[in-house]
Symmetry: C2
Subunit: 167 residues, 2 copies
Amino acid sequence: MVCNLTIGRPKYAAVEARLGQILARAEALRAELTRLATEDAQAVDQLMASYRLPKATAEEKAARQAAIEATTKQVVQAPLATARACVELIALAQETAQKGNPNAAGDAHAGMFCAEAGLKIALMNVLLDLKLANDRAFVAQVEAELAPIKVRRLSLFQEIDALINAR
Amino acid sequence: MVCNLTIGRPKYAAVEARLGQILARAEALRAELTRLATEDAQAVDQLMASYRLPKATAEEKAARQAAIEATTKQVVQAPLATARACVELIALAQETAQKGNPNAAGDAHAGMFCAEAGLKIALMNVLLDLKLANDRAFVAQVEAELAPIKVRRLSLFQEIDALINAR
């Protein structure tokens, strides 16, 4: 919305090309996040189904355990990709607040706060899902991917706090 | 959703009555927040309209200024009520996470993070709108109402941070 309130106005000609890129990327991320929400629901359904597999015999128990391990790894993927997409959205919203029509900067910040909530929810879900995984190497790999995202979340608090206090 | 995954299950009989109250109150707050979003949009339209009033003569200037002052006070009301409703929703989500079906506690926390984003956006909008107001007594009164909400926002950061780090 802020991009659309900026693009085409002579006053903002210098930033128009960049805001056009941001708008296109933000729309692509919106589509990706919608797709990830569906993927996430499907992966959770598959995880639940693997817990419901029969466990009467040793073979069944082994097959069930293998299915749980595989679907657990799968269930981590959508929230992890969601967290990454939210980090990118937050950066785009910040840049839009700085470069776009200042009368609408509050709306860019509102978008940033929503993306921050998405980031927290995704991060929480990755951490919850990881608790179900037994494969140490897999857990370590996901935790390594999460590390910069966690750092970003903490720095965001400072930035958002400064923003609200600056009003 | 967490309330609905708890209510009616024998295991959670002890908390059923309270979760029924929370569910009813959360639904009422959802309706109130939807209404406030419409009210907010209408108040912003009225504020914009008052800025567009004619200002050719002294009388017109005075009438326009009075209209701006009145609509500015009006425009603060919806985000202020939204901030209050979000603070209440956050408390309800926290209580639901503690008392409800633990398998769905993550969803209660997700609701809490969304309400937190709503609180930040509402708070930011009140502070932005207040900058337009000239009536010192009005500004002081709104700031007094905001003080406990700001304190709550800061304590929330600690709580949410602890939550995510505890995973």
